[in-house]
Point group: C2
């Protein structure tokens, strides 16, 4: 079993790809259409049910993954042995390197139905083979960031730690930590996210540490001996009230925080605050966790909670685990193209977008227009939404950082009409206008 | 941005771990409790809302990931530079290698609330640090397999291709393809799953290939020239009826299949079947895709559909994207331990399980018992559910393969009472009895 499922080190992203991308390619190479100039566009036909906005995340990961999209001997050998494509196609793949252009919404930007989130320009073949990888990353990361932004917004400035790694695929966990941080979370429990993205990591102990010891007091003493009194003690292994008494007795009034991970955390937080205050531990913070989502966080706004730990709900997109973005061919040889069946209507042509704002800075509408058609009127309050990301295959310099994305999202959320920040189901915060 | 998010090749799984696992460890090393003999147990307190059964998947990936759980210089350097733990702990981690025992339900086995899916025995420290990684893998893979099994069951023998890679994290996609195949899917679109797990991959073309060409006919001709008439032509880019006419005209009556990816696929499949038959293409298969889940598949049972393509719903666990399993300390120094707060009750003690069956082979109940207590009566129809997986740190030989897991699940599903295969919300298919 171990060899069958061996986790050999894979440094290429090229096989994180649907079979049909390569068979399409082989047909296109054979009939001479492979190099036709094409434009592909990533967009979401709609937001997840009832959501008011989406948050773009994953773009930086996309650019890295494209740079690593190489068919080395290992990938070519696999495709050859399984006869996925013919020798001509294999040769083309062995020489593959994306040489086109990409522009898109920067990370941390809001998006709405049909926003042109990413535009890939190049020959048909070089652009089509990126479809699966681009969508995997954007659909995952944007789903997480979109959920996390609602939670950050509901937390109203109180810090949130992302601790959901155990509830999702082990590598999705790392990307989820990044997307949550982008969307305003303060820290993560995920150590690989700390290494890879420089996100601050946090953690103290689990219930297992409490149970390992003969008594709660013994466990608290061991933790404080190692971590000092400014640590967070987990007080709900047995009786919470007794736990808090013991915690303050052992740590003193300078105890950093207590964590409550179960029960009606609102009621428990209020009781805990009173108890801590009565014990003189007025600066001891209260951290709550345990199946919190944006609605639970909002419901706790009036309670004396100092920080939230969020797991399952954020890494699963809080009911919307994928963003539903598609990668559609919109232009061939300068001509707009689109699927025209009765079932799904798409709009052809390469597009760009601006977001209009009132003079107060409040967003009014997303205006999408065909680049080859009339350009919308715009004033000083409007903002073009796409930025260049790749030019002739090279990632452009000085792209926004992860911290830039955090700042961008904070500004963008402030610009939404107030209804747009409501957690309840409703229409997108601003309408999309096709020019 | 590219360097900030660099995708260096990581061969160790050690940082796919929550910060608190290592801070717990450091406290345990300091106070002398790190080597206490412990037993940790993985179980789900409940099934996802309304589900009748869960399917164990990911165990083989867990064993591989544990083998790769090594703190090399790179991991130690990261932990040192971010001051996560002290020098004593870093030294312990640098020498880490799991040396304990693991048993568990084999992949493809069904599980129910509280089934002891995995049991990890070892010193506290060596076992606790595996928590995050073990749960990430089992929670993800079992969620996908549990959803996929419902779809396979609803498909009633018709093949399903997994094609959801673009709707989930790029590496989760590979694991999702494996879990779906384990649960009875026939093939996947994911090329990396083909390489890594030997799963057959399939694919032909997307709508982009149709739009690349000046006409549907030109696209069909290009595809058939390359792939032969036994390919699958995508007939819903423009008008489906015209598409089918053109397809048969170009490919002849030996056309392999048509695919319909949009619209009311039941109605469209019936019309397509009539049309194909009237054109003499009686052996041409009909493949449908487009937002199918287990309910849509079941609703198509009476329609002339030959194969299903399933994407979003399977990779997101069809409404239950995580299995909700936990990794709990149940025994220390041979004594049962458990959280005893009013909010969450856990059962201490190392456990095992048998599944009782009627003489007809129908499953009756899951019996969970403490290994140190009385052993349940059992007869020839009962079946012990755990198998040895790791002994003294070494993965045991001849573990079940992925194909074995497929076969095991097929047998297990047949053993369920008929209500257990219903797709509607309800109670678990069999009750869990604690002895």
């Amino acid at each position: 079993m171990a060899s069958e499922n061996g986790t050999e080190a894979v440094t290429s992203t090229a096989l994180l790809t649907d079979h049909y991308e390569l068979t399409m390619l082989s047909s296109a190479l054979a009939d001479g259409t492979a190099d036709r100039p094409c434009v592909f566009e990533v967009f979401a036909r709609r937001l997840p049910d009832g959501r008011r906005y989406g948050v773009v995340a994953g773009t930086a990961r996309v650019l890295d993954a494209i740079a690593d999209f190489k068919f080395t001997d290992a990938e070519i050998g696999q495709l050859e042995s399984t006869a996925v494509v013919d020798a001509e196609t294999l040769e083309w793949l062995a020489n593959y390197s994306f040489g086109g252009d990409i522009e898109g919404y920067p990370e941390g930007e809001l998006y709405f139905p049909n926003s042109p989130i990413l535009t890939v320009t190049g020959g048909f073949a070089e652009a089509v083979v990126l479809e699966t990888l681009v969508l995997s990353i954007l659909n995952h990361d944007s789903a997480i960031a979109s959920a996390a932004a609602r939670m950050s917004s509901a937390a109203h400035g109180r810090p949130i730690i992302e601790m959901g790694g155990r509830r999702t695929h082990e590598w999705a966990a790392v990307a989820a930590a990044r997307a949550s941080y982008l969307a305003g979370f303060a820290t993560t429990s995920n150590l690989e996210a700390g290494r890879r993205y420089g996100i601050p990591t946090r953690g103290t102990v689990a219930h297992a540490f409490m149970l390992l010891h003969a008594s709660e007091e013994e466990a608290f003493r061991a933790q404080i001996a190692k971590m000092g009194p400014d640590t967070t003690l987990l007080v709900d292994t047995y009786d919470i009230s007794t736990g808090i008494d013991t915690a303050v007795r052992v740590a003193g009034k300078e105890l950093g925080a207590i964590r409550i991970d179960s029960g009606d955390v609102g009621v428990l937080a209020r009781q805990a605050r009173e108890q801590l205050d009565s014990l003189g531990a007025r600066d001891t913070r209260i951290v709550v966790s345990g199946d919190l989502d944006e609605h639970a966080i909002a419901a706790l706004r009036a309670e004396p909670v100092d920080a939230y730990g969020v797991g399952t709900s954020v890494v699963t997109g809080s009911g919307a685990p994928t963003a539903g973005m598609v990668y559609k061919l919109v232009e061939v040889d300068g001509r707009p193209v689109a699927k025209r069946s009765a079932q799904k209507i798409s709009r052809g042509g390469r597009k760009a977008a601006i977001r209009r704002h009132k003079s107060t800075g409040t967003a009014v509408e997303e205006v999408i227009y065909t680049v080859d058609g009339p350009v919308p009127d715009s004033d000083e309050y409007d903002r073009a939404l796409q930025i260049p990301l790749v030019r002739a295959g090279q990632t452009v310099d000085d792209l926004p950082t992860l911290d830039d994305a955090r700042a961008r999202l904070r500004r963008a959320l402030v610009s939404l009409p107030w209804e747009g920040l409501k957690l309840s189901h409703g229409e997108p915060a601003i309408p999309t206008l096709f020019l």
